[in-house]
Symmetry: C2
Subunit: 249 residues, 2 copies
């Protein structure tokens, strides 16, 4: 008997999403430096929900209405906002139970691009194992959308995508078909022993080093310091476990 | 004294070209399986010129006017044509001194996309060393445009791009800045000892195997069996050495 296994594939940038998305209703969005690392951190540390928005203007409107809003462009906090996408800033006890509006250069754009799909979850190196295990249990066609940097390929998202693909394929219950998935898995396997050193040539790490964000980079490149999986429900990123509990009850 | 070196970078698909092209007037177009391997072979074996065209319709118009015309789509020769993009078919003595019109799924599209640039040359694994040496001598910002497969990333073009980048950087007179270039170089270094085996998982190789094109694949994946460098002049791909001789005289 020939059984067709679900596929897990990687798409390297939002610009290529439409070439890959057909047949995939489960999308994992990744922006390791730093949007999705920040979102996973926020959800793990008790933030109630994150509303991703495309533009700084939209975030500003929410701010004016009294929302907590965060905005990052080009690696820096946008003028007029007090938060950007530093994961460390999302650990504050003041944010527990709060809803936060967020716009970033690449990550929130990728999330918005995928929002018409049945299921959109958020991945990072921080929640790698937890997300891998969950994806294996779903047994669904899964497309990993790397946010890249301004529609360009980037190394850190590719490593993370490769880590998810490598882990999910090890279950024996999935296949990969795309060259991008083969390359991502290969790059992850070469990088995994020392991701920080592997990325020393990465353009984004150089960009963040200039902005004195090495503590953020160290944090974002640390696999499995979190277990939370954020999921998009009605336009808001919320903890997956709450959604699953609601379905069970 | 700080000297700024010229850059050599890789762009993984025509869809991303506009994200990368700024500041580059020297473009290397690659479509290893099989358009650019075929073009390099044709020029090496004495074809006078190749006219790349976008559509099958355009190629058919040339055919009707009495031109030799070749057309490939989805890996196969288009109905009504006698040639596609098999490199082996371009070695025929009947083609010496002839001009051939060519349209292919990915390669000719990438060439047309780059044609507004000052210099467009054609790369493949077949002419890797010869092209590397020439690029080093140009000392110009160089962008390698991989044709990919229908705007998707592919492994064989990435290996070839990585080979060019690795070779050119070894001169010590160039820099690379993009993550795509770092990844391409890394993938080339891992693959170079046995490209054929490395590509066993590649989607395009599987596609061509189904079409019984293993001889073509073996040929295209053999580095340095050619030295010709095709260059685009007035919309026609001609031997670079003829152009350089004309400039000298």
């Amino acid at each position: 008997m020939l059984t067709i296994k679900p596929r897990i594939e990687a798409c390297f940038s939002p610009r290529e999403f439409h070439q890959y998305e057909k047949g995939f209703e489960l999308i994992v969005v990744i922006d390791v430096l730093r949007a999705t690392s920040a979102i996973c951190t926020a959800i793990e540390y008790g933030v109630k929900g994150i509303i991703p928005v495309d533009s700084v203007e939209e975030a500003r409107e929410y701010l004016d209405k009294g929302y907590i809003a965060a905005a990052e462009r080009e690696g820096e906090i946008v003028k007029g906002f007090t938060m950007g996408n530093s994961p460390l800033s999302y650990m504050s006890p003041d944010l527990i139970g709060q809803t936060i509006v967020l716009t970033t250069t690449n990550g929130t754009k990728a999330i918005k691009m995928a929002q018409h799909k049945e299921t959109v979850v958020i991945g990072s190196l921080n929640n790698l194992d937890s997300l891998t295990e969950w994806l294996i249990n779903q047994e669904r066609n899964t497309l990993i959308l790397a946010s890249g940097w301004k529609d360009k390929f980037n190394l850190e998202d590719t490593i993370c995508a490769g880590g998810l693909i490598d882990g999910v394929l090890k279950s024996g219950n999935f296949d990969s078909d795309e060259d991008s998935s083969v390359a991502a898995k290969f790059i992850f396997k070469s990088a995994k022993e020392n991701i920080f050193s592997y990325l020393k040539a990465s353009s984004h790490r150089r960009r963040l080093r200039k902005l004195n964000l090495n503590a953020d980079v160290n944090y974002c490149l640390t696999p499995n310091n979190l277990t939370a999986i954020p999921i998009l429900k009605n336009g808001i990123l919320v903890p997956l476990k709450h959604v699953e509990k609601a379905v069970e009850s």
